[in-house]
Symmetry: C2
Subunit: 702 residues, 2 copies
């Protein structure tokens, strides 16, 4: 029997479970008429945004498709590549779309359920988050299965390939290219959504909270709906597309290494089976996420964690049997899975330590507000910079353990590749429980939206308190999720670099590789690679700044021209803000996204294959450090502000609070736009390099 | 005749010229009694600081000396190493010390000369800056000559070495280790001085300007003398030690590559001779630095630039003849010199473009102040990040040109090393005109101090205007100088990595090198290397924050307890502020400095020689990008604030100005502490790795 049938089954289970959860969430009441009205406005805004985004991205995909098609006609690419590219993009977009649909359906229902109690609210929000988690996982496995069976059929019946290893090589190298489609879509979703959400947030805060002095989520603020829409298009749809890409990227890049590692069809199947098993483990874990009515933030977090840990434990045990059955001579692969799982958890811990105000770093950061906003900024930047130490050590250790446990050895090509395969397996291990980790991550913005709806609909204070409890927890789980995403990105990137080298060797066995760091093209590649994440962060931050600027002007205009708005007798024009955010984020996401695609090709054309490898390594290492720094600094600034708002250091409205707000505003694009986008950048550059390897081998200057 | 005699002669010429200039500057009048009094206070503070710093650093040097001595007894090091280490530290300290002495002698004299006119002021300040420039160059060449002749004598007469190439190898590998002493001293001077100067600056501004509302450099501010002392110990003494280290580091690392490049004694002599010729060229250039009385900032800058360009032109022509005589078969080396010279100038241009308010980036940054301090911070960070693109491209191009022009070829070890030698020559070329570039750089803090003295002594407005014109130009030349220092650091670092590999091969010919970026120890080394500059930046920024905090408290205390202080009837206690800055900067510089020494050793013990090479490459590439980003962001924030103070966007005291001050405060540690310190970090880690290579070869985990 073909082992890959299990993957198809896993996909069906995941999608079915998501469907059941979706209906369960939808069966809840949507609440009062006012709540329905607000929820509809958010839904409408989010749909309008996605519609426009998909139109814009469609144009991009069409252009790239044509380019790829021409290249395939010229023989630089396999003819399946353009189509694989499209499906990757399509499924990634679907992941975001369904996640967003669910989130905008669940927000008012969460607010309504929270009226009955904390646990009820948690269950609705978490179930909705789980829909997204399992959709991402299910669609990922579906795309993998479809292509696998199609390509297998093709190479068995149409274009007959007799050797098994050649067949696997053909299958995996074609599948790799749908990773590029997924990455492109993810980048647009993350960058576009990230610009939208932060522009709306910053715009709403700067004029509403600071200038007009009205509370957060106040219905008089014209940008308030845009702000809520932003949570859905950035933190939900963007994250869904992002993690879809991480998930399939890690699986296919690891599978692609199976041939050069001499592990054959079984080696190819292992990462896929781990992912399929992860579905079952994650479903099991979701049943443990519940809480008591008197839950504190600590016990709430515990209940979310419990689900994740149970899933991870199941995977750890199950993977032992899978590997023992399929690759009994290579039990080191099992240790790679464990290394991946453990390092994911550890990165989550360090992220929490640096960004939660229950620990010293963020407490200390809130104290820097006593000497003004400049010291808050310096404090946050140095906190973020220091926080990179542990993730680097953890990922470094995971790399070494999984490489050497799998018999990695520098002097022999086969065992060397086996070690690299091990590193890929570690990434798959880390992401195998994505179903549930993504659920704990995606529930945050839903709770955030629910809080907004509760506020705007004038529900009781106890309801808002409950949604606040859920929301502030979401900040921690979101930070953990980001640490997780970037950790797996680093490991996957290595597997991708290895896949890139294998791809070049397949295409042109005579190409002379010299990947030594002292080889000038490699070195210059490293330099350029190190610079690109900085440039990318700059472009995305500037984009947020520009978009926010236009929202500020629009909100000011409405306060000035709409009579009775501040008194509550007239309604603001929510739609114009949503529309403005949509238009500016769509316009401003183009440059960074196009850059991410063009730079690796340009580097290849000038520096050749060695330069590309150096470039990818440079982007990976510096991108990793910069992304961790930006995410953690942003998270810490946010929570330092919340710490003050909780009544410390003078509380809301004090000078300390004002200084902390500056930190939080700087942190917004850090943690929700630039940081996560770098994450995708790292993998997209690798994917692009792999797809265009044939072109680079044919044309290069050095 | 031994070619190295020219180096000794160059050293004597440089030191004599410095001596003549010193006396010329001293012959000027020191001004009124009040001016003398203030100048004495600054001098006293600076001397007290340096005394304490040298005591503290002395302890560190003693400890390291003992460690090195024990290692040499155990056979892991050559017996000259501990002594070479000491002399490197000594001469680096001397460079800073003499520079500081000159600067504190020249500040009141500059203020006094500025009473007679702009050109007079410029000549005094520039001559004093030139003293430091030529002392650094002269001492560098002196140390090189002493060790060369001593070692040559030793290996000819005592421990006889018969083969020329073995003799060169012994000589250069011993000389390399005095680079470690110079780097250590430079790091302490830069970090300690950087903390001092910014703590005093920030402390004086936060309480004096912001809280008490008195102008800058007001004698009523208790931290005002500390602020002026800071300019001397940070921007002068720190920079002197720093560039001493860059200078000798680039020369000896290039010379060390001559053997493995098959260029023999002549190849070793070329970088040294270029440096010696640079002395003559720089002296010639200084005579062109003068200006007319009606000079604008533009013409002032032109006159400073003219001197530098003339020197660079002379070196370009002279190097042709030197290389044509010594290495006629390798005229590619000449192109490497040109690549170095040109890229130094180009990096200077891009730095100026991004940090001067005559161009759009900084103008745009000042406009972000309209929406508050958060947008100023985001704007400055993204400006700094974007500004890394050009330096990376310039340095990358210089690397490729000098490598390939010198016949660099990956497939053959000898010509590969020749290419690496070419990269080193590019660094030497860039730094060959250091005498004059350092003069244009060091004159800035002198003019700054002169302005402070003019203000405090109540000299006429026209005097202050003249010193201001000189000072604000100093900001641009300082930024250019920093770009120059970091550019040469990147090129030198590569030569040092190559020297490290050569050193390991000499020590243990059987060591298996695999420097491929896909080799896990190399890769993990790259990750750790990428993280260290971030950690280092964090530690140094935190140090500034902590030190500034203590100054703020002290200044507040004095304003509260000393009666009549604000009214001008009582004198503040300047000394206590100076003392506080001294103590806290000495305490806080220890951790980052020790870290820079210990991490490369720890990485080596765990990851082995391949891991160390990866680590060095990671530190170099990320450190370069981060240092450029921090220096340029800091420079742009400073000038954006000055742009507003010049009357734009509401001018001084407006909301825009307040927002811009926040940016400037954040930028202070960026540009004057962390950024330049990373520069030294890059080279120090390489130097430490080279010195401890024997230990690592003997003991390592992987």
């Amino acid at each position: 029997m073909d082992l890959m049938l299990f993957v198809a089954i896993g996909s069906i289970i995941a999608l079915s479970f998501a469907f059941v959860l979706f209906n369960k969430v939808r069966s809840h009441s949507e609440g009062t008429e006012q709540m329905i009205k607000i929820a509809n406005a958010i839904r409408k805004g989010a749909s309008a945004y996605l519609k426009r985004q998909y139109t814009g991205v469609g144009v991009f995909f069409a252009v790239v498709f044509v380019v790829l098609f021409i290249l395939s006609l010229l023989g630089y690419l396999n003819y399946f590549v353009p189509f694989a590219f499209l499906t990757g993009g399509f499924f990634s977009a679907m992941s975001g779309f369904i996640g967003m649909k669910t989130a905008t359906m669940a927000n008012s229902r969460t607010a309504c359920a929270a009226q009955q109690g904390l646990n009820k609210g948690l269950r609705v929000a978490f179930s909705a988050g789980a829909v997204m988690g399992f959709v991402v996982v299910g669609l990922g496995l579906l795309d993998l299965s479809i292509w696998y069976f199609f390509l297998k059929f093709w190479y068995t019946n149409v274009e007959v390939v007799r050797s098994e290893s050649l067949m696997i090589q053909y299958i995996t190298s074609n599948m790799l290219t749908f990773g590029m489609g997924a990455s492109c879509m993810a980048l647009f979703a993350r960058v576009g959504g990230g610009i939208f959400t932060k522009a709306a947030d910053v715009g709403a805060d700067l004029v509403g909270k600071v200038e007009a002095g009205i509370p957060e989520d106040d219905p008089r603020n014209p940008a308030v709906i845009a702000d809520n829409v932003g949570d859905n298009v950035g933190d939900v749809a963007g994250m869904g597309a992002d993690l879809y890409e991480s998930y399939v990227g890690s699986i296919i890049s690891t599978s692609a290494l199976a041939v050069s590692a001499g592990l054959g069809m079984k080696g190819m199947a292992v990462p896929m089976l781990l992912a399929a098993l992860g579905v079952i483990a994650s479903i099991f874990g979701t049943f443990f996420v519940k809480t008591k009515e008197d839950a504190t933030q600590k016990t709430l977090l515990k209940s979310l964690r419990l689900g994740t840990y149970i899933s991870a434990g199941i995977i750890a045990v199950a993977s032992y049997f899978v590997i023992n059955t399929l690759l009994p001579q290579y039990m080191g692969v099992f240790y790679a899975v464990i290394a991946g799982l453990v390092s994911g958890v550890l990165i989550g811990f360090t992220t929490e330590y640096f960004t939660s105000d229950t620990y010293n770093p963020t407490k200390g950061l809130s104290k820097t507000s006593e000497t003004g906003s400049a010291t808050v900024i310096i404090g946050g930047l140095s906190l973020g910079m220091s926080s990179t130490v542990w993730p680097v050590i953890i990922v470094g250790t995971a790399i070494l353990i999984s490489f050497f446990a799998c018999g990695g050895n520098v002097s022999d090509a086969l065992s060397f590749n086996r070690g690299l395969y091990g590193i890929g397996v570690a990434a798959v291990g880390m992401l195998s429980t994505l179903g549930i980790t993504l659920a704990t991550d995606a529930y945050g913005p839903i709770a955030d939206n629910a809080g907004g709806i509760a506020e705007m609909s004038g529900l009781g204070k106890e309801v808002r308190d409950r949604t606040d409890a859920l929301d502030s927890l979401g900040n921690t789980t979101a930070a953990t999720g980001k640490g997780f995403a970037i950790g797996s990105a680093a490991l996957t990137a290595l597997a991708l670099i290895a896949a890139y080298i294998a791809e070049v060797k397949n295409l042109a066995p005579n190409v002379q590789f010299n990947l030594s760091i002292t080889n000038p093209p490699v070195l210059v590649g490293l330099f350029i690679g190190a610079m690109i994440p900085f440039l990318f962060a700059a472009l995305t931050m500037e984009a947020v700044g520009k978009a926010a600027q236009s929202i500020v002007l629009e909100v000011r205009r409405q306060f000035k021209t709409i009579k009775g708005l501040l008194e509550g007798t007239a309604e603001p024009d929510y739609e114009s803000c949503v529309d403005l955010c949509t238009r500016s984020s769509q316009k401003l996401m183009i440059l960074p996204a196009v850059l991410a695609v063009i730079v690796p090709i340009a580097v290849g054309l000038i520096l050749g294959v060695n330069g590309v490898a150096g470039f990818l390594a440079g982007t990976t290492i510096t991108g990793f450090v910069l992304a961790v720094m930006m995410s953690n600094a942003g998270g810490a600034w946010d929570n330092a502000k919340k710490h003050i708002e909780a009544g410390n250091l003078g509380g809301k409205g004090s000078d300390c609070h004002k200084a902390a707000v500056v930190g939080d505003t700087v942190g917004d694009p850090f943690k929700d736009t630039s940081g996560p986008a770098i994450n995708i950048l790292i993998k997209l550059t690798s994917m692009v390099s792999i797809v265009f390897a044939g072109l680079i081998v044919a044309f290069h200057l050095l």
